[in-house]
């Protein structure tokens, strides 16, 4: 599918402008689906992309587009209002483990305490450990290992204990 970055961005902007919840484009085996969750009548500028079935491997242009639209947003209009979304406090490269040989810090189902390391974001050759601010259970890992993340991008969803 020949969707370029600019086109995709424009599409996302248009979705928000025209208040659409979902756009799905399919050609042959490629699919792009953009989805926003419904919200109360107020004109919040929140915007979320979900399920970008990747037509190509997940590297820049494509995911910048997706994330650019997602960023600038508290990123938490979650389906389940009880979930806590952990967002990137800085931009850099997202790693789920301390080294390629190590086990991932957390996966879906992991129980975490406050202060537990969830992932690493590398920026300017520095490995920044990102800690959980809540105790609970990881219910979603939103970013693949090794991918670049922007400021404010949603990384994990955690269901707080009790």
């Amino acid at each position: 599918m020949n969707i370029d970055l600019l086109q995709l961005k424009r599409l996302m902007r248009a979705m928000r402008r025209y208040d659409l919840d979902e756009v799905e484009l399919r050609e042959g085996e490629s699919t792009v689906r953009l989805r926003r969750s419904p919200r109360g009548g107020d004109a919040t500028t929140t915007f979320e992309t979900a399920a970008v079935a990747p037509a190509r491997p997940s590297h820049f242009p494509m995911d910048t587009a997706a994330r650019a639209a997602a960023s600038g947003v508290p990123a938490a209009p979650a389906v389940d209002p009880d979930l806590v979304t952990v967002t990137a406090p800085l931009i850099g490269t997202f790693y789920r483990a301390a080294s390629p040989q190590s086990r991932v810090f957390v996966e879906v189902g992991s129980t975490v305490q406050t202060g537990a390391v969830l992932c690493i974001i590398e920026a300017m050759k520095l490995m920044n450990e990102i800690e959980s601010e809540v105790a609970g259970t990881v219910v979603e890992v939103l970013v693949e290992n090794g991918r670049a993340v922007e400021f404010g991008e949603a990384l994990f969803r955690v269901r707080p204990s009790r």
């Binding site: 970055l5 994330r67 650019a68 600038g72 931009i91 920026a123 300017m124 922007e150």
Partner: protein, 454 residues
């Protein structure tokens, strides 16, 4: 040449740099804070990255975020625009360490020329004229002695001050005597340094600057001069360019010594030397800006050069194509800065621009950073766009600017267009020249300057 340039800025200058990159065939990365996600520079760039929350200290001024953005997007050069980190030698140094080309001078050249005190030392060394003044004064007697030599009026300045702070104008010996002790105490209290010095005070100065550009091959060229005397509280509002702003002989010599000084100190980028000009036409070096100026388009209009493209090319090691004696400027150019602010109270006016219709036609250029429907956030400076006109003569340029301002429609936020109209329509503006006090003394005090129009 670079492959991909990250623009570490926002607004009209980010758009300006993106345009230059596109024309040079370079890919562009816009960075933005959370509130700028829909800004024009983000829309025009090939890629964009959110680098932080709205506060500039955590986004556009946050060096690690900018460098990380360059790393994850694979940019190999960073253009800092103006403001923000454009004059931060520390940022230029981090870029160098991270193998990113900082599109500007070396950190060493930024320190040598970007710092006011060092720049004045450089200027003195190369014979660029400075305002007559003294070194640190031992006591009141020394001050009175020096004052007799220099003549009044004078400025009594705190060595630790700057930007108008710690400055007193004294018009005679008695006033100097009265002011000395309290100025000393205030300097100690305000800057932790009681040292004072004297400098000639120019009642109604003009502000004139020289645009220079230098490459890595020893070529340094002065491509024109700009008149920037229309200011309010040291903020320029309207700038002009035409040949012969500085009086004949002084002019040629000034350019020669400036070019020589930059060559000798190994300056290799775009830069601007600012001068204060007294009523008799004497020019005195004020400071140097080591980055692109807001008002660079007036020089582009009269010379036909693309200064930002040249700045990028020389940063990539390219040879300056401008000859040492550039072709003579043609005609006269004026730039009006259009700010989102109340034209009377000057209060910033952020908000959503509901309608935006820029002027067009012969000799009119608009460098904007906004569009109809976009939001002007309250966190940054209020410059929305610049209108630049070019015509054969100054009166024609004034007529053209009047016409262009009339066409410019911005709704949803208040702008200073009515104030710019007032300036352009003022008979004293037409007759010129104006001092830096013109706006406050003449335009803003005039009860109904609109009435002066035929």
């Amino acid at each position: 040449m670079f492959r991909k340039v990250l623009i570490a800025n926002r607004g009209e200058i980010a758009v300006r740099v993106i345009r230059a990159c596109k024309e040079l065939g370079l890919r562009t990365v816009a960075v933005h804070s959370q509130c700028d996600v829909d800004a024009l520079h983000v829309r025009l760039a090939d890629e964009s990255v959110c680098i932080g929350p709205p506060a500039a200290s955590r986004s556009y001024l946050h060096i690690p975020a900018l460098v990380a953005a360059a790393e994850i997007t694979g940019a190999d050069a960073i253009h800092p625009g103006y403001g923000f980190l454009s004059e931060s030698a520390a940022f230029a140094e981090v870029c160098r360490r991270c193998q990113l080309t900082f599109i500007g001078p070396t950190p060493e050249a930024m320190r040598a020329w970007g710092d006011k005190v060092t720049a004045r030392a450089q200027a003195r060394r190369f014979g660029i004229p400075l305002l007559p003044g003294t070194d640190t004064l031992a006591d009141l007697d020394a001050a009175l002695g020096a004052a007799r030599e220099l003549g009044f009026p004078l400025m009594l300045k705190a060595s630790g001050g700057g930007g108008g702070r710690g400055l007193k104008v004294v018009r005679d010996a008695a006033a100097l005597a009265r002011a000395f002790d309290s100025a000393r105490a205030e300097a100690q209290a305000g800057f932790g340094n009681p040292a004072l010095f004297l400098e000639r005070f120019i009642e109604r100065p003009r502000h004139i600057e020289l645009q220079v550009i230098a490459d890595h091959h020893g070529h340094v060229s002065c491509v024109g001069e700009r008149e920037c005397s229309i200011q309010r509280r040291h903020q320029k509002l309207l700038e002009e360019s035409s040949p012969g702003l500085l009086a004949g002989a002084a002019h040629g010599r000034l350019i020669d010594v400036a070019v020589e000084a930059l060559r000798e100190t190994g300056y290799r980028s775009l830069g601007t030397l600012e001068f204060i000009v007294d009523e008799a036409g004497g020019a005195y070096f004020l400071e140097m800006n080591t980055r692109v100026q807001v008002e660079h388009p007036v020089t582009e209009m009269v010379t036909g050069l693309d200064l930002v493209a040249e700045q990028i090319l020389v940063a990539a090691g390219g040879r300056l194509t401008i000859p040492a004696q550039p072709p003579p400027p043609r005609g006269h150019a004026i730039e009006c800065r259009i700010n989102a602010e109340d034209p009377v109270t000057f209060a910033p006016s952020p908000g959503r621009i509901t309608e935006y219709h820029p002027p067009g036609g012969t000799g009119v250029r608009v460098d904007g950073g906004v569009y109809g429907g976009c939001v002007v956030p309250p966190y940054y400076d209020s410059l929305l766009a610049k209108v630049i006109v070019h015509a054969a003569t100054r009166p024609q340029a004034i007529a053209r600017m009047r016409r262009a301002l009339d066409e410019f429609i911005v709704e949803g936020v208040r702008t200073n267009i009515p104030l710019q109209r007032k300036i352009i329509d003022h008979p004293a503006f037409a007759s010129g020249p104006m001092s830096t006090r013109f706006l406050e003394e003449t335009v803003l005090r005039d009860p109904a300057p609109g009435a002066s129009r035929s």
